[in-house]
């Protein structure tokens, strides 16, 4: 079976700027694939090429069996797309939005109506078909936008920061839907800045300055990229002592976390006791140090730091 998405040496330049630089990967059918990177790393440009909206400068990509450069219209018919700034008609009722987008995808009549009703139920919007879209909270509108994007049963769905600015309850409900979609065989390509969400992805690709620098499952990325010992520090007068700790050899990162600190150290050089002593010597009091776990945020920071060591400064 051929992959749902495949990219080989995919490249896009704008003048002298290379936004996407030789990116290669494959996404299997029914996979939830997370595409991460800093703002400006090239995520959106990749999506615009994979959705047939922007021609690659070089390299190639196939989505749902169609070549994005040679057959962009076939690509567009096979995919669903939803972005952070999803566009719904706010002055229309919920159901009218679904019928409008269904019509745009060539659905009509009783089949469209049945599909719209089915999606209202599945997205937890049953009974809300008559409500004016603009009166609904952001989390509900977001689920409606997803329903509009999958009306025509696309093989692949692209979600570009679908949950930006949405509260945890709404995000959870949204991700439940995404997992159900994938379980039904739909391939999901999603970008997010919420790294706890990225944990739901089967595999994650991480972009730095246009290049795909890391690609693996969340667990494997943590093992590969963050061999550090992660320590959670609590105590008093920590803010002042943090600077001294940062300067110490073997300390890889010190970040404030609430009233405490998250510290990553080289396990060959430092442990809990050394960190507690260093902080104590620098004026911190009542210091307690415990082991923590590496997060995808730690992975992200490690990849970005090592992936772009010589980043230009203004």
């Amino acid at each position: 079976m051929s992959p749902a998405i495949s990219a080989a040496g995919l490249t896009r330049r704008f003048g002298g700027f290379t936004a996407v630089d030789g990116v290669s990967f494959e996404v299997e059918e029914g996979e939830i694939f997370g595409y991460l990177g800093a703002n400006g790393a090239g995520k959106s440009t990749t999506i615009r090429m994979l959705t047939g909206l922007l021609a690659p400068t070089s390299g190639e990509a196939r989505v749902a069996g169609h070549d994005v450069a040679a057959a962009p219209e076939s690509v567009k018919a096979s995919i669903g797309y939803m972005s952070q700034k999803f566009s719904l008609y706010l002055d229309l009722p919920v159901l009218e939005n679904l019928l409008f987008f269904g019509g745009a995808y060539g659905l009509s009549g009783a089949a469209l109506r049945a599909r719209a009703d089915e999606l209202l139920e599945r997205t937890g919007l049953g009974g809300m078909g008559g409500a004016t879209t603009g009166d609904l909270p952001g989390g509900i509108r977001q689920r409606l936008a997803l329903a509009c994007a999958v009306l025509h049963r696309p093989a692949v769905v692209f979600l570009d920061e679908p949950t930006a600015g949405v509260d945890p309850a709404a995000r959870r409900a949204f991700w439940k839907l995404i997992r159900e979609l994938a379980a039904g065989g739909t391939t999901v390509f999603v970008t997010t800045h919420y790294l706890d969400e990225a944990e739901y992805c089967r595999r994650i690709g991480l972009m730095v300055d246009g290049k795909l620098v890391a690609l693996d499952t969340p667990a494997a990325l943590k093992r590969t990229w963050v061999p550090d010992l992660v320590l959670v520090v609590r105590g008093r007068e920590l803010a002042r002592a943090a600077g001294a700790l940062r300067a110490r050899e073997g300390v890889r990162a010190v970040a404030p976390f609430g009233a405490g600190l998250h510290v990553r150290v080289d396990p060959a050089r430092l442990g809990e006791r050394e960190v507690a002593e260093a902080l104590g010597a620098a004026g911190a009091r009542d210091v307690k140090v415990e082991r923590g776990e590496a997060t995808l945020e730690d992975v992200f920071l490690a990849v970005v730091d090592r992936g772009a060591p010589g980043e230009a400064t203004p």
Partner: protein, 273 residues
């Protein structure tokens, strides 16, 4: 262009954060007010918009040099509360004070900074030009501007994009530029309304290091956020729901018995979006 586009919702608010350098001594003198050592105070705020009650008796205090987080679901009243503290919302009840003064009178404006959710930049100016524009507006000395701009461009990782026009930035990059512009002048009190939506994790973490530095240096920061990990990075957090304060305290105390702040949020607010 007659008016700086800092706060698009209202016209008279453009002078809100126009002032620059202050000696830290001013702040110390001001803080001796009788009951409120607090930098920010909201007491029984009520605000209705037609049939909707956005604020329904909301009260909280933020001490000087404190980093206070406001969290809550969509529509909880966070934005209205922040705008009230900036003196931009007429209240139907209750009162606010900033550094012991009613912000609506305009007397604290030069000591107060606000970053609203929809921050307006000049779309036809580049990243660097926008920063210079706001530096002028805040009357920053050249040397101070250069140091701060370099630092902020580093943190936001916008350095390689200084010459790109604002209208050619991605959503997250635009937000970061707005944030850099809002942080250029370092006011005594800073109000940030969901400053990190769409901002990537690296910049988000560096931004929080910067906020901690600010408050360590005496600045008071009130920040609303939908990110629960950011709530955990605040000194104290208020959980707002239906225009009221539901819970308040240090993240560590609040989350006792919960795996994370998100678990706490879900148990208190429920799954209803």
């Amino acid at each position: 262009m007659s008016k700086p586009p800092v706060h698009p919702e209202r016209s008279h608010e453009s002078d809100l954060s126009v002032h620059p350098e202050r000696s830290s001594a001013d702040g110390a003198a001001e803080s001796k007010g009788a009951e409120s050592k607090g930098a920010l105070s909201a007491r029984n705020l009520v605000r209705r918009f037609g049939p909707v009650t956005a604020l329904d008796g909301l009260s909280f205090e933020v001490g000087k040099g404190e980093l206070y987080g406001l969290v809550g679901p969509d529509g909880a009243g966070k934005t209205t509360a922040i705008r009230a503290l900036a003196g931009l919302v007429r209240l139907d009840g209750g009162e606010v004070s900033v550094l012991g003064v009613d912000p609506a009178g305009g007397r604290v404006r030069e000591r107060l900074g606000l970053m609203p959710q929809q921050y307006s930049l000049y779309r036809d100016l580049s990243v660097g030009e926008n920063l210079r524009f706001f530096a002028r507006l805040f009357v920053l000395p050249k040397k101070v501007f250069r140091e701060r701009a370099d630092r902020l461009l580093g943190i936001t990782r916008l350095g390689p994009f200084v010459d790109r026009r604002a209208d050619a930035l991605s959503g997250g990059m635009y937000k970061k530029l707005a944030l850099a512009c809002a942080l250029l002048h370092e006011p005594e009190v800073l109000l940030l309304d969901e400053p990190t939506n769409g901002v990537d994790p690296v910049s988000r973490r560096e931004l929080w290091v910067l906020l901690h530095e600010f408050v360590h240096g005496g600045m008071t920061v009130l920040v609303s956020t939908p990110y629960m990990d950011e709530a955990e990075r605040c000194h104290r957090v208020g959980l707002v729901h239906h225009g009221k304060l539901l819970l308040e305290g240090e993240p560590r105390e609040l989350t006792r018995g919960f795996a994370s702040f998100e678990e706490l949020f879900l148990s208190r607010i429920g799954e209803a979006a």
